[in-house]
Symmetry: C2
Amino acid sequence: MPSLEPYRNELDYSYAPGIFPAMECLLHRPESVRRLLVHSAAVGRDGIEKLIALAETHRIRIEEADRVLARISGKENCWAAAVFTKFSDILQNDCPHVVLHCPGDSGNVGTILRTALGLGIEDVALIRPCVDVFDPRTVRASMGSLFRLRVHVYDSFAEYRNTFSGRPLYPFMLDASVPMGEIKEVPHVYSLIFGNEGSGLPAEFAAMGQAVRIESNDKVDSLNLAIAAGIGIYHFASKGALV
Amino acid sequence: MPSLEPYRNELDYSYAPGIFPAMECLLHRPESVRRLLVHSAAVGRDGIEKLIALAETHRIRIEEADRVLARISGKENCWAAAVFTKFSDILQNDCPHVVLHCPGDSGNVGTILRTALGLGIEDVALIRPCVDVFDPRTVRASMGSLFRLRVHVYDSFAEYRNTFSGRPLYPFMLDASVPMGEIKEVPHVYSLIFGNEGSGLPAEFAAMGQAVRIESNDKVDSLNLAIAAGIGIYHFASKGALV
């Protein structure tokens, strides 16, 4: 078995660092797990025995790998990690989607994945160019939610739109004329579209579907992307009674 | 003038790293600014001339300080920072408050400050033990919002409550029986109370005011603190028409 390389976008595998994210990976994507890495001092840590038992059930190779764990997590007290093959899902056509257009921050993407799952939206599209959704920092910020969601990365928004034509689209834009609070009726399926942290969505999205803005004042340039997504997902999910 | 020390909680001053956060500091708290630090390669950067002109208007000392900037920001391309004296405000009794009970993550606190300001809540209380609200990481995550808010740190929640008795309190708790969406009428003043990232609010908060929970499923342990605060602040601020 080849030795493990430091995480890189180009690799076809990545790491889920931490006992809890590794557990989510083994519970929900066991077929994607290549190995389980365990620290030599992990014995007795909360959850570690359950994690090892789960790996054994699935006949996943378990390795003691202190140095690799320190390297991929950037800290000394990372007790376990799953090595998993990157995956690509088919999104469900009859479910609401979150679409992240060219997100640039791994932490934001992970936080949005966690929010979407917790509020009941389980299909997430990313549009390139974007950060790697399998980056260990994303996995960690998602608290392993990545492994319970359906996720697909598209080369362009046109590709996404062609794949899922006819859905109501809600681009979130700072200068949209319709405040989100005015959306009282939410359809059964829809796509909530959020732009890049710095540049937002390109202007042409204003003509796609119903652009909305989150009501805020001009004392801040904008809300943080993950916060805006959280507020938007909550509004639509609670109106549609997903949670 | 004494030399500048690396940031520490114990110092009576801190740093606002980055041109935009430094600008917010000079614009809204000029009386707190001790010096403006500028990088030798900052000439021509967006906003730097306005920043220097503002410092000159307020007769604030300007220093070239490449090494200090790299040290406080942890990166090479930090073009400016304001050195400011930590401050303590008197919160407004007739305005809504956000209360952060023992927050442990500087980035979360900064993001919540930015959200509160953008959604129209301008009074923020922190309850000890908590991270330093003046930590440069908090200032940066807040995008300088810190300097436009009224902020006060209390030794205990009892101290806060005694100072502002009689206000409606809304503790956010995972196991509260009332879903937030059921709160349709929002009073003129109120306090939204959010607990620590890991442990939430202590159980006794359930008996204070009207505890509420953000409707989410059990596929995640909880929402990220800054996300929960964003969703909560948006709900109350939009019902109360603050934005």
